[in-house]
């Protein structure tokens, strides 16, 4: 397996497959009364969160604890940390001196995990960096899709909404394309990334036109601050043109899935009564997140981490 997970770019399809299969085995642990196996006993995982995130932090914490790893959490607002005078580099050196085995980092600045990986010996796992990537979110999304469809080849996935500001979208576009899915980005032109033609995806503003073809409608969170940046006129107009409501759900294929990385803005990108439909697998994504992150930690830190027969390519970031 790889030493660090900084970007989906580092993974080849076989490695993604291996993560999925390992997650299958580990999922069962979560259903036991004693939800723990000793695979990472004696290993230390540090959750280094420079940006508030309850969901991802808890998910990684549970994932590591299920494998019996020791987990420490360091939360600091990137801005507070800077004002206190301790630089990112100093924080990294402190953790290096403490000798942790893995650092799970969430940071508001794109590329922060890449820098961290140059400064420490520990494995670095990107838990979301700025507008760049959120690779474990993409892996758990793949896992959730695979759970319903079995494979990815030829699946049509629409990623709807604020793509330009979404690290989830960047990781998912890469991961889905690697696994053979066909991705369409849908949303207001002002929320599409620059040079989107280099992304190798289809792009449209017309959700109604594309929705009947989709196997998965993946809705991105519309952040309140984007509304203040005047990237689109009003939340109401957004909901009218790109929000998924019951009328639009009726246009979807019967087996079409609805996904969302959370947290949701009910009434903006997703209608409240849509979020709770059976085809909406948003809570499954959360559950699967723990198994997938466990699998990743196991493959990166466990005894088999280096010698696993399925990972022939060792791609380092």
């Amino acid at each position: 397996m790889i030493k660090h997970l900084l970007s989906i770019d580092q993974l080849v399809p076989d490695q993604i497959d291996l993560i999925m299969r390992t997650a299958d085995s580990l999922r069962e642990v979560g259903t036991r009364t004693i939800k723990k196996v000793p695979a990472l006993r004696g290993r230390t995982v540090c959750n280094l969160f420079f940006e508030p995130s309850t969901r991802t932090r808890i998910s990684f914490e549970l994932a590591a604890k299920r494998l019996s790893a020791d987990v420490v959490t360091f939360t600091a607002d990137a801005k507070t940390s800077v004002s206190k005078g301790e630089s990112f580099r100093d924080t990294a050196q402190t953790l290096q001196a403490m000798g942790v085995d893995a650092i799970v980092i969430r940071h508001s600045s794109s590329g922060a995990p890449v820098l961290l990986s140059k400064w420490v010996d520990a494995s670095v796992i990107n838990a979301g960096d700025g507008l760049h990537e959120h690779p474990t979110q993409a892996l758990l999304d793949l896992y959730s899709i695979r759970e319903r469809f079995g494979s990815f080849e030829g699946l049509r996935v629409g990623i709807v909404g604020d793509v330009v500001h979404s690290r989830v979208a960047r990781s998912n576009v890469k991961a889905l394309a690697k696994m053979g899915a066909i991705v369409t980005l849908v949303g207001p032109p002002t929320l599409m990334p620059p040079a989107v033609e280099t992304w190798g995806v289809e792009v449209t503003t017309d959700l109604d036109e594309v929705l009947p073809k989709l196997d998965v409608a993946y809705l991105l969170r519309v952040q309140t601050e984007r509304m203040n940046e005047k990237l689109f006129p009003t939340a109401r107009e957004y909901a009218a043109l790109w929000g998924l409501d019951r009328r639009r759900v009726a246009m979807m294929k019967p087996e079409g899935l609805i996904m969302h990385p959370g947290p949701m803005n009910r009434g903006v990108e997703i209608a409240s009564n849509v979020a709770d439909l059976e085809r909406s697998i948003i809570t499954n994504q959360v559950t699967n997140g723990i198994s997938v992150r466990s699998a990743l930690l196991y493959l990166m830190l466990g005894d088999t981490a280096v010698s696993d027969e399925d990972s022939e390519e060792d791609i380092d970031g």
Partner: protein
């Protein structure tokens, strides 16, 4: 040591249209004689066989960080870096702390330059007080001060207010000085970290579109036309900007332009990996922009190569990409980078390189005594370099107090052997002569 005879070099002197093997005799600060097989019984003879002798390099755009950030660079350390790079004159941007927006600061910087005695240090003055873009700096006082400021700019930023810039241009024109702009329309470049395009999109870094530079440049050219000021475009970085300059020159406008070695060689693809040493403003652009800059350099649209030497401490640079200040060193690598990547690639010839790095920038600054001609009676400001000399960029050898160079570890071709400032060797066999004038 008052008499030195440089023997056997190829003399490249665009100002006298000379490119031939010639000896140069320097006596008491002046070029005394130029010719074949010169002899002198009492001069020290320096054998320059295989080397090029040329007018000393002139850099119209450096940041010396004094006053304010003397941990990053001082006038003296920047002068030393310049001498090591083959320069004999440098123009220091005014974004110091306090800002060089008055005669006192300008005279201080100039006097520090004279005290270091390694190159001519020309302070540039701010256009607006505190670089805030709100009211005019003491432009007239700076021009008539002993610092004799001849170039005004708010570099680091452009003047956003068009009415204020118009007034500034009219005022600067009255003193026959140069108005130089960092062209950036800030409402468009807002929060940008790198060039907008394929790579910013992939890296999740906010982009600065080329148009942010081109809109500002187009406005500046229009105002320069309106006011008749001598206008200089700093660090041109886009294909569209080259086109705007070319069109303005075709109309006969009094406009000059510079480009940095890094914009001529590096692209935004270098940002993959988030190495903050590649973060500059204007940002590294696309390969199409690099190509257009090279064409503009070759056809004379661009008058000068300027380093935009911008020292930053490692604390400032070893941080999150968005937190890191833009800027990279340039003085000690400029000649070799240009020789290796630009002359080496056949973009311009060796004589054209001397023109763009010495004669051209002297003309931009209206600077006498530099940029040639290398003829009897002229001040002896010279560089001797070996165009074939190979070396590897090593920060421990930098005279600069900082080390934020993307060229570290690169093998370059082109080594400065000697630099002569006002007739004295400031660099000899690649070694700095400390206190050469003092």
């Amino acid at each position: 040591m008052d008499r030195v005879l440089f023997k056997g070099a190829r003399l490249i002197d665009p100002a006298s249209r000379t490119d031939e093997t010639a000896d140069v005799l320097v006596v008491d600060g002046l070029v005394q004689d130029v010719g074949k097989k010169l002899t002198s019984s009492d001069a020290e003879i320096i054998d320059c066989d295989g080397a090029v002798i040329a007018p000393g390099l002139v850099d119209p755009h450096v940041h010396l960080r004094e006053p304010g950030r003397e941990d990053e660079e001082t006038v003296a350390s920047g002068s030393a870096a310049a001498a090591c790079g083959g320069f004999t004159a440098i123009c220091a941007m005014p974004n110091t702390d306090p800002v060089c927006d008055n005669a006192t600061v300008a005279e201080k910087i100039a006097s520090r330059g004279r005290a270091a005695g390694l190159v001519e240090v020309l302070p540039a003055g701010a256009i607006t007080k505190g670089l805030l873009g709100e009211e005019l700096a003491s432009i007239g006082e700076m021009t008539v001060s002993s610092a004799r400021v001849r170039l005004f700019t708010d570099d680091g930023r452009g003047v956003q207010d068009s009415r204020l810039l118009r007034r500034a241009m009219e005022y600067i024109k009255g003193f026959d000085a140069v108005c130089a702009e960092h062209c950036e329309e800030e409402t468009l470049s807002h929060a940008g970290q790198m060039n907008e395009g394929e790579f910013s999109s992939m890296l999740g870094l906010k982009g600065i579109p080329s148009e942010a530079e081109e809109i500002a440049l187009a406005r500046d050219l229009a105002l320069a036309h309106l006011t008749g000021v001598k206008f200089h475009a700093l660090h041109v970085s886009t294909a569209g900007a080259v086109e705007l300059i070319r069109a303005a020159k075709a109309r006969g406008a009094r406009v000059t332009a510079e480009v940095t070695p890094h914009h001529l060689v590096l692209t935004d693809a270098e940002l993959v990996g988030y190495d903050t040493n590649y973060k500059v403003n204007p940002p590294l652009r696309s390969s199409a922009d690099v190509e257009a800059l090279r064409v503009g350099l070759a056809d004379g649209t661009i008058d000068a190569i300027a380093t935009d030497h911008a020292p930053h401490s490692s604390e400032e640079k070893e941080t999150e990409f968005e937190q890191a200040p833009p800027g990279m060193l340039g003085l000690e690598t400029s000649l070799a980078v240009v020789l290796t990547e630009i002359v080496g690639a056949g973009v311009i010839t060796l004589p054209e390189m001397v023109e763009r790095m010495s004669t051209g920038p002297s003309r931009v600054l209206g600077l006498g005594g530099h940029g040639g001609p290398v003829t009897p009676g002229e001040p002896a400001n010279l560089v001797v370099f070996d165009p074939q000399g190979q070396w590897t960029v090593d920060p421990s050898r930098f005279a600069s107090l900082s080390a934020n160079s993307p060229w570290i570890g690169r093998k370059l071709k082109g080594a400065v052997l000697h630099t002569v400032f006002q007739g004295r060797l400031t660099l000899r066999d690649g070694e700095l002569m400390q206190g050469a004038l003092v």
